[in-house]
């Protein structure tokens, strides 16, 4: 309708301003903006007036008060004497952790299943198909409960354990325990060596690319990079006199029954809430990513594969060097949405006691009663996380788009 109006407006303007579609368009847009500003102003002032009328304290001062409650996972120093603001920050880091780890596993599993779905092997493609249809059609909250309550009951109780990897990693209902590295003076050189290894790998890979372009000779970039990134820190570790030791979890088998099992705060403990949430989020999101990957690969014309085969490339390099790079530009935009979904879905953590942003913020909300402020923080944090993820993925998308010929 609008476009038709525009078309007729191409004729010499004889009509009055009221009948000019362009002027009318501007007028309506101005009215809309004014209405939005006015209603926004109205909502804010009305809320403030109502809060005052009901004697509800408002403002941001509460963030500095002592929180007084504990948590079972924090990536930074946190105690009951920390402030409410710090408690919310701890929750934010926990959300970030589960989002990053979840996105990593969802991507890996999703790509594998997506490629398997197109496999010529009937069994593999059927298994991938069943996985996708089963997982993406069950509500996420139920899957979280499944991983937390059903799977949790299957592992040994607190006074018992399953051990893996030569008795270094242990699993029981209280979580996954492993050795914790304790750094001593001089350990910073290991960090420098790691950074140096990464930089050297990038340089080598650029040089190898250039050489291959010029001479056609290949160079084992991957193994060189592994050698540099792993080998350099290990070498430094040995040279500097091993400035690090491992603190193994302490499994107590005698004494009062309550004290038996793993001692608190010795070694690294990954709480079962985190395990269950990460498992549920990655497996659920992976089923969507698998479909996106399948669609992306199928969007690349079969002629590309045939051409690659005609040039003598085997199946692996064909997929890696010809099909996937072209599929990526179809995959990335919907993949971004899945990443955003995973981050936002992580707020279901509160159901299984994982102290994420919503859980910690909810406790703060309840202790202080500052509902509007806390909900404001939640919305601002999720919005910023989503916008940052989108910005990164858009940048990546643009880079990948350059590959297109």
């Amino acid at each position: 309708m609008t476009s038709m109006e525009r078309d007729t407006a191409e004729a010499p303007a004889r009509a009055s301003l009221i009948n000019d579609p362009k002027a009318r368009g501007y007028f309506y847009q101005a009215v809309l903006i004014v209405a939005l500003v006015v209603s926004g102003y109205f909502i804010v002032t009305n809320t403030i007036a109502n809060l005052e009328r009901q004697n509800i304290a408002s403002g941001w001062d509460f963030l500095e008060n002592t929180a007084g409650f504990g948590t079972n996972q924090s990536l930074v120093e946190y105690s009951e004497t920390s402030s409410y603001g710090w408690a919310i920050f701890v929750g934010f880091l926990n959300t970030l952790l589960v989002a990053v780890v979840g996105i990593f596993f969802a991507t890996v599993v999703g790509f594998i299943v997506g490629v398997a779905r197109l496999s010529n092997n009937w069994v593999i493609s059927r298994i991938a198909y069943c996985y996708v249809e089963l997982i993406r059609n069950i509500p996420l909250l139920l899957q979280i409960f499944f991983w937390y309550f059903a799977v949790l009951r299957a592992v040994p109780g607190k006074r018992d354990k399953w051990s893996f990897f030569f008795d270094t990693v242990h699993l029981n209902i209280a979580g996954l325990r492993g050795p914790k590295p304790i750094w001593e003076p001089g350990a910073e050189w290991i960090g420098f060596a790691l950074i140096l290894g990464i930089i050297a790998s990038i340089v080598v890979s650029r040089w190898a690319h250039k050489r291959q372009d010029q001479t056609g000779q290949q160079f084992p970039v991957f193994w060189t990079a592994v050698g540099l990134i792993v080998g350099l820190p290990v070498l430094t570790y040995l040279v500097t006199g091993m400035p690090m030791h491992l603190e193994h979890p302490n499994f107590v088998e005698t004494g009062p029954i309550l004290r038996r099992g793993f001692e608190l705060n010795v070694g690294i403990n990954v709480i079962p809430e985190f395990l269950a949430l990460t498992a549920a989020l990655s497996i659920y999101t992976a089923s969507f990513i698998a479909e996106i990957v399948r669609a992306g690969i199928q969007a690349v014309s079969h002629g590309q594969t045939e051409a690659a085969h005609a040039l003598g490339l085997r199946n692996g390099p064909t997929l890696r060097l010809v099909v996937i790079p072209q599929a990526m530009r179809v995959i990335i935009p919907p993949l971004t949405s899945q990443y955003l979904n995973l981050t936002k879905n992580s707020s279901l953590a509160v159901a299984i006691a994982y102290p994420d942003l919503v859980s910690m913020g909810g406790t703060v909300l309840n202790q202080t009663g500052q509902a509007i402020e806390v909900i404001g923080i939640w919305m601002a944090v999720y919005l910023s996380l989503s916008l940052i993820t989108s910005a990164f993925m858009n940048w990546y998308n643009q880079r990948m788009a350059l590959v297109e010929r």
Binding site: N50, N265, A351, A353
Partner: protein, 339 residues
Amino acid sequence: MSKKFLPLVLGAAMGAVAATAAGATTLEDVKAKGFIQCGVSQGLPGFSNPDAQGNWTGLDVDFCRAMAAAVFGDASAAKFTPLSAKERFTALQSGEVDVLPRNTTWTMSRDTQLGLNFAGVNYYDGQGFMVRKDLGVTSALELSGASVCTNTGTTTELNVADYFRANNMPYEIVAFEKADEVVAAYDAGRCDVYTTDASGLYAQRLKLTNPGDHMVLPEIISKEPLGPVVRQGDDEWFNIAKWTLNAMLNAEELGVSSENVDEMKSSDNPSIKRLLGVEGAYGEGIGLSNDWAYNIIKNVGNYEESFNANVGPDTPLGISRGVNALWNKGGFMYAPPIR
């Protein structure tokens, strides 16, 4: 078409926002809609719990029904909204519920900073600990290094932090949003200890696979006066809530129950006469009819009847009166006189 429609929508939206700014009193609102909307727990046996038919029972539910009886003369003019610990105050502040009898602890910050008023105490509780018997623990002071399951967003979470800190004991807190998940996780062995108000421990123990394998430790680590809450700034409604509770307590003290209330109307005791509205016009003072207390007692009963029916020794919870007995029987329950 859509361009003309938009300003209409915006106008309507602004009108709706404006409408919430103006307000009648809670009593007028309640009378206009014909029932009281009560915020209760999501299922705490003895206090507020729905049965298989969806009928709510419990001490807190009885309080709400008593208010309905006082206002309408009909205890069934009460509807119930189950609320999580986190939602409860916002639901009351925003007017979604009219009164909040939801085993809520009366604390200073809640009373002064949330725009709320506590209308009294209908159950004196305290926080306790439940453990498996086979742990061999007999005192809460032996709980060093334990993992503790509880509800998030409650005073419980703060008390347990205070208690373990004060006694210099390390612990791991596992805080769930809903009580059912706390019970499930504790039952699965995720935690050594389940902590909440002692009354809640007795109630939730019934939900465990083998209730007999668990015991409540003797320590009570906090004061938890539980009471109904109303919005601040509406004194008329606050008075009705306060005096509904007082009427139930005074009725018990004077020996007036739902069974003998009709005979008691002809009693010679002036206190009973004032309570039942035979003498004086006390009901008018709180904006109700003079037989307000009669309606409460007739329809719901006095405090003792409500206590015994919901949490008392003959119920599955089996809680004795203890500190919740009347002041003249060794407890804390003391209602100002009606005169």
